[in-house]
Symmetry: C2
């Protein structure tokens, strides 16, 4: 397996065609996987916003005050309002907002980025990252690059372990995970529950190549990797019924 | 970045020298990262066990009965006893045991594997995976392969997202994560909290190449990847004080 960063991408602007920009800069081959950071997908889709666009609700004001009191510094209630508008549920309200986005991803502050966007205050996550991936994949096919899978990626933290790692938000041209259940292990015994989240693993692998800083390269070509003949599944985000940690968080309240 | 599976490794037996077996089969170069699945590290370290070695405590009997009642099938209390003996804390007791292992990793059943070991009932995780990684790294250096970092890997599930992905249990020759805080982003602004867990990302990348089934290749060479000049940290496993999800789980009880 090889990973190549796509170099020399320009600063992405609303309306830019990512498939076009990548196809001009990478010698894509059938079977490749292209990972694209959600930051540039959002920029191409015009998912920027300014704090003044968010009239503050009572709920946002209360959240900003609670979080600000814990942090010992004022928090902008307009930011809390933006997070609420991008979310369907708050799993944690304070000391930070852990939310479920409208497309099912769980992350801090609905994934809203305050560092990566010029000329605006906020960069929101793509509205429907799997549809974004499908559009990029279709755009590549139109340019003669058939059979390239696309994964829209982000980085986020997690319980139990420090640090962030790359994760998939959306994908096209492949399943999210592959299912090894029923496959024999090396000694001929059947493997237990083993569903492998390959889109997340591809996002993590790509994140080793992209970096976060000024020389960040937000698109990566993964070559010589194949999903294989296993069954696939497109369920990546857990429902609360299937997630004991979400159930526990529903009953829990932060106390300082 | 390139990943190459180390092929033709034999079935690993207690006392086998993994550094020796890998060095014979892979053309290692300075700067490479070698990932090694914990299954073969455990086998080399003789971390196999049989259920009859675990006299059942009252606590294990109670746990097996509770979990069995939910699952609708009998659970072996000796297995519950083995999980307890490998753990320092149970984060979830039922319907499955989510535990903290003695070296700080949080996973189901203390990572005890019932599918991957011939001639024994159980394969336990390495006792101290970072020490295992250090031994393998030293063994490679003795054979003239200086400057090869080693990551001992496993796969495990996680809250919020379906499926398993590769994670690091131990590492040597590099830091667990790199710290981008203070680095300028593309527009010259300072990046927010961004600590990147590179050992987990390396484990995930390697897991795309290893597979789980009969043709699984438990060692992978990662080439042309560099940690770079960033600050590093070796804190990978969160303490409860730093983990709201662990705090929430402490207060929560499963009800059917």
């Amino acid at each position: 397996m090889e990973l190549h960063a796509v170099t020399d991408l320009p600063e992405i602007r609303p309306g830019d065609d990512i498939a076009d920009l990548v196809a001009d800069r990478a010698a894509l081959e059938p079977g490749d996987v292209l990972t694209v950071a959600s930051t540039i997908v959002s920029k191409a889709e015009g998912r920027t916003a300014d704090l003044e666009e968010y009239p503050v609700s009572g709920r946002a004001k209360e959240l900003a005050e609670r979080i600000g009191a814990v942090a010992g510094e004022q928090k902008d209630p307009r930011f809390a309002q933006a997070v609420l508008e991008e979310s369907t549920e708050l799993l944690i309200e304070c000391p930070f907002m852990l939310t479920e986005t409208r497309f099912g991803h769980i992350c801090v502050n609905a994934g809203i980025d305050r560092s990566n966007v010029p000329d605006h205050d906020l960069l929101l996550l793509p509205r429907k990252p799997t549809e974004s991936a499908e559009r990029i994949r279709a755009g590549l096919a139109e340019r003669g690059h058939e059979d390239v899978a696309v994964v829209v990626t982000d980085t986020c933290g997690r319980p139990f372990r420090h640090g962030q790692r790359g994760v998939a938000l959306g994908w096209a041209g492949m399943s999210a995970s592959r299912d090894w259940r029923g496959e024999p292990d090396r000694d001929g015994r059947e493997l237990g529950v083993t569903v492998q989240s390959v889109v997340d693993e591809l996002a993590s692998a790509a994140n080793l190549v992209t970096g976060e800083g000024a020389d960040g390269t937000p698109a990566v070509v993964v070559r010589d990797w194949a999903f294989g003949d296993l069954e696939g599944s497109d369920e990546l985000f857990r429902d609360v019924e299937d997630d004991l940690v979400r159930q526990a968080l529903r009953e829990w309240e932060f106390e300082q």
